[in-house]
Structure formats: C-alpha cells, structure tokens
C-alpha cells in the first residue's frame, strides 16, 4: 500500500508540474491545455455515454486479445520449451517474426481483415503473444532437474510431473510475461484504433478530438485515460502476482 501511495505521489506531481508550466505560460495553452481543463473534460467525459462505450469497446478488445495471446503463447511455449527439436526448428521463424512491430502490419490487416474489432484484436494478439511465449519457453528451460527428479522419485509419471511440478514452477515466469503482454496489448489496441480509423474505441475518440475540431482537451483527456488504464492494469497484475507467487519473487527480477 505504501508503494502504491508513493507511485501516486509521482503521478500527482506530474499533473501539478503540467498545470504550473501551462499557467505560467512556459507552454502555450492553445498547444497544451492546462491539467485542470483536461481534468474537467475528463470528468465530463465520464458521464458521456458515447465516450464510455468507446472505452468499453477498447477494454473489451484488449481483454479478448490478451486472453487469446495467453491461449496461444502458453501452450506454444510449453510445446517449444519441452521439445528441444521443435524449438530449434522454429527459432529462425520466430526471430524473423518477432521484430516486426504490430503497427507495421496494420496495412496488411486492413486489406485482409478490415478495420473492425477483429483487426485490432488480431494485431494486439500478435504484439502480446511474444513476451508470453518467450517467458513460457524460458520457464521450462530453467526448471531445476533436481525438482523434476524429486517428483519422479515420488512415483509421478512424466505427465504428472509436468502438470504438478513443471507448470507451477513456470507459473510466475509466465505471469510476468502476461503482465508485460497486457501493457503491449493495450498499446496495440489503441494504436490500431486511430491508425486504422476504427468506428468505435478510445483511440478513435482521441483521433476525432484532434482531427475534427481541434479539441485538444478531449485529446488529452483520452490520452490520460489510456495512461491511467495502463497503469491500473499493470498495478493490479503486479499486486496479484505478488500475492500469488510469494514463493518466487520474479516480479522484482522483472523490473531489474
């Protein structure tokens, strides 16, 4: 809770600094609206049905994308992590695909899938699957042979040792991958929304505010909401990771 409060102090400090620089005229207010104005718009928007529907659409797409990425990344990581031949066979392909940014695939996706919700979900899945996949592979490569021997010495067969020992052992590593993937998926969903001009969503809203009538306060309010959403998601995942995997301590390692 204390680290949460400290994190909040930094955030409040940032908003304060923003307000002061704009009010003092360091930054022109037609360029960057002051934090207070953005905050007012932000509160107003929270009562705006259309805006809220857009946010829900974005979060829903994000959640589905993350779920699909977990559904693909974990089993694929399990397979690649436990079958060395498969891992070396797929290495070149993975190393080719991984550096391609999701945003670079937008034109391709727009042509093949269009710009509906499935387009943003597809690209978010693509972006989010890598950290999950790599952490899962890594977790299975890391497993201590003594731990597996201990399981086998109690009479567990291969499948039982995999389910009850290798999988729980890998869980904190996989979870760290999911946490990283969650942020990436949110970025991907919002980016696709405004680059591919989706019909609905937070990214669409930000784009509209900027394009149509130069409503910078709306643009900023949308951006702030995106930031807050990312921060809240990450904090929630860090918190539950700490509680779930008290024995492993991987969260601390991930931030190092």
């Amino acid at each position: 809770m204390r680290t949460f409060a400290k994190g909040l102090t930094g955030l409040l400090g940032f908003f304060l600094l923003w307000e002061i620089t704009v009010q003092a005229g360091v930054l022109p207010d037609y360029w960057v609206p002051p934090a207070s104005e953005v905050a007012t718009t932000f509160v107003e928007l929270l009562g705006d049905r259309e805006f809220l529907l857009g946010v829900i659409a974005t979060l829903l797409a994000w959640l589905i994308a993350l779920g699909v990425a977990v559904g693909i990344g974990v089993p694929a990581g399990l397979l690649l992590g436990s079958v060395p031949a498969l891992q070396s066979a797929s290495r070149a392909l993975i190393e080719f695909l991984r550096p391609i940014p999701a945003v670079a695939l937008i034109p391709l996706v727009m042509v093949t899938i269009g710009s509906g919700p499935d387009a943003k979900i597809t690209l978010a899945v693509y972006a989010a699957v890598w950290p999950i996949l790599f952490n899962t592979i890594y977790a299975f490569g890391e497993i201590d042979p003594v731990l597996l021997d201990s399981a086998r010495a109690t009479g567990a067969n291969r499948r039982q040792a995999l389910t009850w020992v290798a999988l729980p052992h890998a869980a904190p590593f996989i979870f760290t991958g999911v946490r990283v993937a969650a942020s990436i998926a949110l970025i991907a969903v919002i980016s696709v929304e405004y680059i591919a001009a989706s019909e609905i969503g937070l990214g669409r809203y930000i784009l509209e505010g900027g394009m149509n009538n130069g409503h910078l306060d709306q643009v900023m309010a949308g951006t702030v909401l995106a930031g807050l959403a990312g921060w809240a998601i990450n904090s929630a995942l860090v918190g539950s990771g700490r509680r779930l995997f008290r024995w492993a301590d991987t969260e601390e390692r991930a931030t190092r």
Binding site: V146, L147, D149, S150, A153, T154, P172, W247
Partner: protein, 324 residues
Amino acid sequence: MSTMLEVSGLTHQYGQGERAHVAVQDLTFTIEAGQLACIVGPSGCGKSTLLRCISGLIPATGGSVRLHGDEVSGVPDDLAVVFQDYGRSLFPWLTVAKNVEFPLRWQKVSKAERQRRAAEVLESVGLAGVGKKYPWQLSGGMQQRVSIARALVSRPALLLMDEPFASVDAQTRGELEDLTRRVQRDLGSTILLVTHDIDESVYLADRVLVLSKSPAAIVADLAIDLPTERDQIATRESEQFVSLRGEVARLLQSPQVQRTGENAPAETPAATTGTDDTTASDATAASETTAPAEATGAALSDGADTAEAADAAGSPDPTAASRS
C-alpha cells in the same frame, strides 16, 4: 532376513565411443531388509549415479537391480529418495504439509487419510505443527526433515539417501543422523545412504560398503557392530568407533581405491586427523570439535538461529540460479 535390494553387475556409462565415461562398473551387492547400509566413497566416484540407477531415475547401461525380487525399470512404487539439496527438491509453492502429501497423490489414498498421514509423519520427524508453513520459511535442517518426512509418508520398503546431510551445519547434521537411525528402527525400513563422510557412515550404519574411485567398484564390505543405541559423543569416542573409522579411512586411502588417483593430489581423505572430509563447510565443523558437546543438549530448540543462517546463505530460493 529377506533380501531387499539385489544389485548385480550394475554398470553405467555416460556417452558413447571414445568419449564415454564409465561412472559405475560391474557393481554387485545385496542389502537385507531392515538394514541401514552406508556407501562411502571418494568425491566424484559415481555414488550419485549408482543411487540414480537403483532408484530407476536413470536406466543403467548394464546389469540389473532387483527390489524385493522385482526387476527395477522406472521408479518403483515402494521406493523413496532423499536428495542432498533440500532447497531444490522441495516444492516452494506448496506448504510443508502438501509437500509431504505429494507422493500420496499418485496412490489411491483419500484426502483425509493423506492429511492424517502427513501430520503423523511430520510429527515423527519432530515437525509437528509446521504443516501450514512453506519450506522456505524453515531453516535448512528443518527443510531436510521435511524431505525425509516426504520420503517416509508412502511407507517405502527402501529409502535411498544421497548425501542427505552434506548441506546442513554440524549440529543439525548430528540431529538428523540420530533422527534417521530412530525412524529406521521405528518403521523397520531399509535405508541405503550414500556419503563421502567416513565418520557419518560408521556412526549411522549397520554396514558400510567402501567404493573405489571412478568407475565405482566395491572394495570392502564391513559390518558395523556398534551398539544399536548410539550417542553423538560417547559413540564417537568409543574405541570400536575409532578403530572402525580408521579401517574405513585406510581402505579409502589404499592404492586399490586410489587406482586412478595417483597423479591427483589433494584428493586424499583426511580421516586420520579426525576430520573426515575435504569440503569447506565441514572443515569449519571440524574446527569446532567441542561444539557438539554443548549442542546435543540444545537439540531442537535452534529453529530461529538456523533459520537466519539459512536465509543468510540464501540457498532456498528456487529461482536464485536464474538471476545470472
């Protein structure tokens, strides 16, 4: 007395062709039911390979292992293993009780029965009431007690122990040695324990098998006719103990054992000086020869101190190795 374990012509080699390394060669011995036998041999002589072959964790490349008459292929049901590294062999995400129950998961035992047996066996190793804790919240000695409890919970016919006390401090080691002798007598189990520590082998065993350097072969099979009731101080001072220890030490230094080691200095077991081994942790233990005298009285009340010591050593973190 019936034969529990029958090892005949056991050979294991790693790799093939010219680079093949023969770890164990043509080893033959039997262990009677109810015996506590120690295998003692120089470091790296293939003791662990031998134990892994007997437990069915790895298939031997030659020869056979029979557990009460049945050929071992794969890990037998009524066999349990205690490893040296308790920090690496206990499951950190499970509580102590769940760790101990673990072997019963693969047997048709009801949940209530599993819990009852885990509590019972935890009590017999002196850990009543810690079932809800996690292994990493315990000291090293207590963690090794948990692995012993886990090994005993399925009432194995044969218990294999691979250097089980090599990672704990001298005082805890004494306590665990006595614990091992006590549970072995109470449960009537058969134990085969591998160690590089001459004193330990003589103190614990009914019988000591002396192994040669790699590839391991048996050079001597000694009956240890010390009284059944043993005491960390009195037994170790007794003339009989000293002469047996000397005998094992001489065997280990004999050219027969050292056959591949003539050119390798610093591998000579230092048993004649009263210390028994070459590792750093035991060197410190030996320099405190008076400590056990005060220690035995204190028995189990050292939980807090050793817990801190274990934390300082930092070993129980299962993910520590991955930090580099």
